[in-house]
């Protein structure tokens, strides 16, 4: 309900535009109240950011030395060893000396797997869901409302309920430990993606499409020449959201893709965590790995942040 009303507003704000300066009014006085309000907001930001700093500080430390000075606000025994270990640039002997595991870590392989899974999922889901959303928003056909409302009803089903039978399906198809097995369930649609795009397509001006109809354009040409270009902003937003979700997904890939050659980063981190090479986990290595695993999303956010933030009114349904 809230979601529907937010639609038109969002359509305009997702356009990448220079930051709009609010019309300058008289500067609010800095009262005691405002001072404390700002202090509270700064405290929130600190709580948000400190764990990130702690990842960074730990990742530049030597694991074996961390125990001697666990409270140090700066890296203990500064080294790039953790990164070298994680990226497979260190020899087993070097890794052991700094508290890592002597076994090789296929970090590059996990990174590649995450890239493949997230990219293919995003392309498929966004393409097929925009096609479906177009049919729901703009075309007249029998059964449209029935099909759409059953899509929406699927939003209510808790994922674990469908996960068990989906695992059986993927297993029976012989797709365990394949990319296809990890990707298939979300490749063709998610109810959220269809719902999200349909809302936007409903808002695209009908006149342009009617002009195309007069020019004799059929539904397929209209989709590619009118809807896709005019809907590019929400489509890009959905693509980013899908990419982030897919990159961060843990539950499904750890069920169907535990084996090395298809293991994605989140699953690899879970495995990494359960290894205790020298009595305790290799904290520096683990923190270096988490940072590298989060990096692609953080970079994406750096460039596309405004789009992601503006889409928030919507992603609540996820």
């Amino acid at each position: 309900m809230t979601l529907t009303t937010a639609a038109p507003e969002l359509a305009s704000t997702t356009e990448p535009s220079p930051p709009k300066k609010a019309p300058r009014r008289k500067k609010p006085r800095l009262t005691v109240g405002r001072f404390f309000a700002w202090a509270a907001l700064v405290a929130v930001m600190l709580i948000t950011l400190i764990p990130f700093y702690w990842m960074l500080r730990t990742s530049f430390s030597t694991s074996t030395s961390l125990g001697s000075d666990p409270g140090s606000p700066f890296p203990v025994d500064f080294t790039l060893g953790a990164y070298e270990r994680v990226l497979g640039l260190a020899t087993p002997a070097e890794a052991l000396a700094e508290g890592g595991s002597g076994a090789s870590i296929n970090f590059w392989a996990y990174l590649r797997n995450s890239l493949i899974v997230a990219t293919v999922t995003t392309i498929g889901q966004v393409l097929f869901c925009s096609m479906a959303a177009y049919a729901f928003a703009r075309l007249q056909w029998k059964g449209r409302d029935l099909v759409f409302s059953s899509f929406i009803a699927a939003l209510m089903v808790p994922p674990i309920f469908t996960t068990i039978p989906n695992f059986v399906t993927i297993r029976e198809l012989g797709l365990l430990n394949t990319y296809a097995g990890i990707i298939l369930p979300t490749l063709l649609m998610t109810p959220f993606a269809v719902f999200f795009l349909r809302q936007f397509f409903l808002g695209i001006s009908r006149e342009v499409e009617e002009a195309a109809i007069i020019d004799g354009a059929g539904p397929i040409r209209r989709f590619f020449q009118v809807i896709l270009p005019l809907g590019s902003a929400p489509i890009a937003t959905l693509a980013i959201l899908t990419y982030i979700t897919s990159w961060n997904e843990y539950f499904w890939p750890q069920l169907v893709g535990r084996e090395e050659d298809v293991r994605v980063l989140t699953v690899a981190l879970g495995v990494f965590r359960s290894q205790t090479p020298q009595g305790g986990p290799d904290w520096a290595g683990l923190m270096a790995a988490t940072l590298i695993a989060a990096l692609p999303i953080l970079i994406l956010f750096l460039f596309m942040g405004r789009r992601v933030i503006n889409s928030i009114g919507y992603s609540g349904t996820k």
């Binding site: 509270a40 702690w54 666990p70 449209r144 068990i164 539904p219 961060n248 539950f251 009114g313």
Partner: protein, 317 residues
Amino acid sequence: MTAPTTTRPKAGRAQPSGLVPPRKPLITLKRREALAAWGFVLPALLGFLAFFVWPALSGLYYSFTDFDLLTAPEFIGLDNYTRLAADPLFWNAIGTTSYYVAINIGLQTVLALGIAVLMHRLTQSMVIRGIVMLPYLIANVIAALVWFYMFDFQFGIVNEVINAIGLDRVAFFGESDWAIPTVALINVWRHMGYTALLIFAGLQTIPKEVYEAGAIDGGSELRMFRSITLPLLRPVLAMVLVVTVTGSFQLFDTIAVTTQGGPVNSTRVINYYIFDMAFNRFDFGYGSAMALALFVLLAAFTFIQLRLTRANKSDLG
């Protein structure tokens, strides 16, 4: 009497075609459009049928069977459900999950509302919004691992600080009483900013004039929060609650990489128990029955929430 009435609409519909010359091109155009529409929906529909409808139906069926994945499911009627009713671990899982949801949602909603109102009254800065949202972008697994380290009994910075101010170290993940609140705190950290932005989006729909009028009447910030913000925000808050509560029940990742249900089942939440039952003990039938129970529970919960909060009715206008 009945015969004419039933035929009348038919005759009415036939009438135009009798008076107006048949418009053949229109019909074929409509046909073409319908055909194209099915073509557009087809891939998504296939995905929907294969990975949402089919699993929902087979999950329902599995819940009445004994199924270990290796042999065909064997129908056992309501056995799984009678077992569920008498399974102390199932009720423990429901209790643990509810406890987690209560702490997580309670804390998160209050904090998020606070952050949203602060941002709304202080700043429109995209950078601040970006920072606040940051934890939501990293995987659950990563958030869990970072805090697992920071909460470590021996090496964690949190315990270092606790120690420095003269208190006893806390085994955050190792003590039954602490484990669920700790997991809840981690997820509050990850979600509070995101939830704040959801509420913030709602705040921006409140017309500025209402606040200006409030200020002219000499209302304090606190008074305006109680008399303007809260009532006008109610529908948004209600929707946010439905979404976050439903999401909160799905807790799995954090447990899987930290406590794995322990210590002594104190963090064996429902999703983890179902996962364990199905994928570690290969009891797919019983796992499905519990998943269905969760589904029913969630649906009932959502329904009650929507009713209680009158989510679809706005006080505005």
